[in-house]
């Protein structure tokens, strides 16, 4: 533990941005898929879930990072869970008080934020090894990345599944809803399509680099 404090690496823009794109919890690390598939049938649910997770993620990262030299190694997971559960309870009550409609739509998945691997993973692999500000910045990036991923799923599913966005009708009365998109299989189809798109973009980039190298070698 002690040797980690020797030379703290500075906080860069990458600490924050990493979580949004390069280490996106849903699209790259494939963590937290349960809420990502379960509650993204409308955009509103996706935003609510994303922000709730963001709040728990940032707060628990801060607290875990603060207490990282106090928590005994043997019981660290239990301690993290207690910390996370505390913030989840706060979020649970807050959403209940702010919007009963959203609370009912998200159902048990608010309480299940406790078991979200993204949060526990951050606590274990980042917050327990880094300074408070850095952990918070990183957790904030991951939380934004998670919300972004949920939004990607939620918008597609809501637009195709009910022809609306945030409850506003997009195509009028005559729109034919794709029933399957608001059902659980729709979540799998949409996340599969997004993963396909992202990995295709990545592969295309690599292919371009390869081609450039080849032509450079051929001409040079």
């Amino acid at each position: 533990m002690a040797d980690l404090h020797h030379k703290p690496t500075p906080i860069t823009m990458d600490t924050f941005l990493r979580g949004i794109w390069k280490e996106n919890p849903v699209f790259v690390m494939l963590l937290g898929l349960c809420p990502a598939l379960a509650v993204t049938n409308t955009t509103m649910n996706a935003i609510g879930m994303g922000l709730a997770t963001l709040f728990v993620l940032v707060c628990s990262s801060a607290l875990v990072s603060l207490l990282r030299s106090v928590i005994p190694k043997q019981v660290r997971i239990a301690s993290y869970i207690v910390i996370i559960a505390t913030f989840v309870t706060i979020v649970d009550y807050a959403i209940h008080a702010i919007s009963l409609e959203l609370y009912n739509a998200l159902g048990a998945f608010i309480q299940l934020i406790v078991a979200n691997c993204v949060i526990l993973g951050r606590a274990e692999s980042y917050a327990s090894k880094n300074r408070v500000t850095k952990s918070v910045v990183n957790a904030f990036g991951i939380g934004i990345g998670f919300t972004f991923a949920l939004l990607c799923l939620g918008t597609v599913r809501e637009v195709l599944g009910s022809g609306t966005i945030l409850g506003y009708s997009l195509f009028g009365e005559s729109f034919q809803p794709w029933v399957v998109m608001v059902l659980p299989p729709g979540g799998f189809f949409v996340i599969g399509a997004w993963l396909l798109l992202f990995s295709w973009l990545k592969e295309r980039k690599q292919r371009k680099i390869l081609k450039q190298e080849e032509t450079a070698r051929a001409t040079g």
Partner: protein, 357 residues
């Protein structure tokens, strides 16, 4: 020099004939499907033709697009996408909106075939997955049936065919009322049998009508005779494993026969089960998909009988009148397991455990 043609043609070894290539087999399956498509067009008119063209084009374009995207040579030349498109069209209702048919074709190729690595790697029958997707996405449109042999079917479309993309299809009720002469209800023989038509419970259609295809139904599933003939062509040319359809029909026949013997009033006759709905088309052209079915001799029988059994169970006790699609998809899912359990004994190895010396 003598110019006489030799009577005996002498050739050196090898005397084996070249096994047909994938392209050849696929082309022959297309030939076998064309008469069925022709009958569908004769029976349902312009709409069926448009439907067949739409799904086939959608399948070919999807395959070409994905080959382009992954920088691979295009594989549309092997005719397998054409088969998927034709089969898909034959399983859809004739008045199915074209934009939904295109969605089905896209899902069939993209989700089932290309994602798993193209021809030879599909876990499920692509056409059926495409149909299952639109069944889940558009449950109303896919159960809207229109009468066969409608007057003027070669000059006008069924109103729901030309629906604009993303728009709810127009109701065909008014159109059906206008063209139908004898109080036609628009239900398929299976639906009539299962749900009745209000006055009579469990109406059974004449077996002869089912056999020759004089009924309503999906575009290409109506004529059992034609499907059997076209399937026989493939079986004779050894381009299809005839055990699978035989086992599937046997499984369905025996299962429904058992139920019929128990209570003849409540359950349809086994012959009706065989001839109605998509069972024939499914047995001969879909369950026998070379990739998604088992390859072991015993496994083939288990696979076919399982599908036949499940079809009857879904038809009799499920919420839908037709069960062939889900039964075949289930069989596809089970086929690796069936294959693993029915590995033949390797020649030379003993049946019994080798005794220790």
């Amino acid at each position: 020099m003598n110019n006489r043609t030799p009577i005996i043609e002498l050739r050196g070894a090898p005397h084996l004939r070249k096994a047909p290539s994938v392209d050849q087999i696929m082309r022959n399956v297309v030939y076998a499907l064309l008469p069925i498509c022709g009958f569908a067009v004769y029976q349902f008119g312009l709409s069926a033709l448009a439907l067949i063209l739409a799904t086939t084009l959608a399948c070919i374009c999807t395959e070409h697009l994905f080959c382009r995207l992954s920088d691979k040579p295009t594989t549309i030349g092997d005719f397998s996408a054409v088969i998927t498109g034709l089969l898909l069209a034959l399983t859809l209702p004739p008045g199915f909106p074209l934009w939904m048919a295109v969605v089905a074709g896209f899902v069939a190729i993209a989700l089932t075939k290309v994602m798993f690595g193209g021809i030879g790697f599909n876990v499920f029958n692509p056409a059926l997955v495409g149909r299952a997707f639109v069944q889940a996405a558009f449950p109303v449109a896919i159960t809207t049936w229109t009468p066969a042999f409608a007057p003027g079917r070669f000059t006008e479309f069924i109103p729901s065919t030309l629906t604009l993309p993303f728009v709810v299809p127009k109701s065909v009720a008014g159109w059906v009322e206008r063209i139908a002469v004898d109080g036609y209800t628009g239900a398929t023989p299976l639906a009539l049998q299962k749900f009745g038509d209000g006055n009579l419970e469990h109406v059974t259609t004449q077996n002869a009508d089912l056999f020759f295809g004089m009924t309503a139904g999906s575009a290409g599933e109506t004529s059992a005779l034609l499907i059997l003939v076209c399937g026989a062509y493939l079986a004779v040319r050894r381009m299809m494993d005839w055990h699978i359809p035989a086992a599937m029909l046997l499984g369905a026949f025996v299962t429904s026969g058992g139920f019929y013997l128990v209570d003849a009033g409540a359950y349809p006759t086994p012959l009706f089960t065989l001839l109605s709905g998509g069972l024939m088309l499914g047995a001969l052209f879909m369950a026998s998909d070379m990739v998604a079915s088992p390859t072991t001799p015993r496994g083939v029988w288990i696979y076919g009988i399982l599908i036949g059994f499940l079809t009857v169970i879904i038809r009799l006790f499920g919420g839908l009148p037709e069960g062939v699609m889900y039964a075949i998809l289930f069989g596809n899912a089970a086929s690796p397991l069936i294959g693993a359990f029915t590995q033949p004994r390797v020649y030379g190895t003993g049946r019994k455990k080798a005794t220790k010396p």
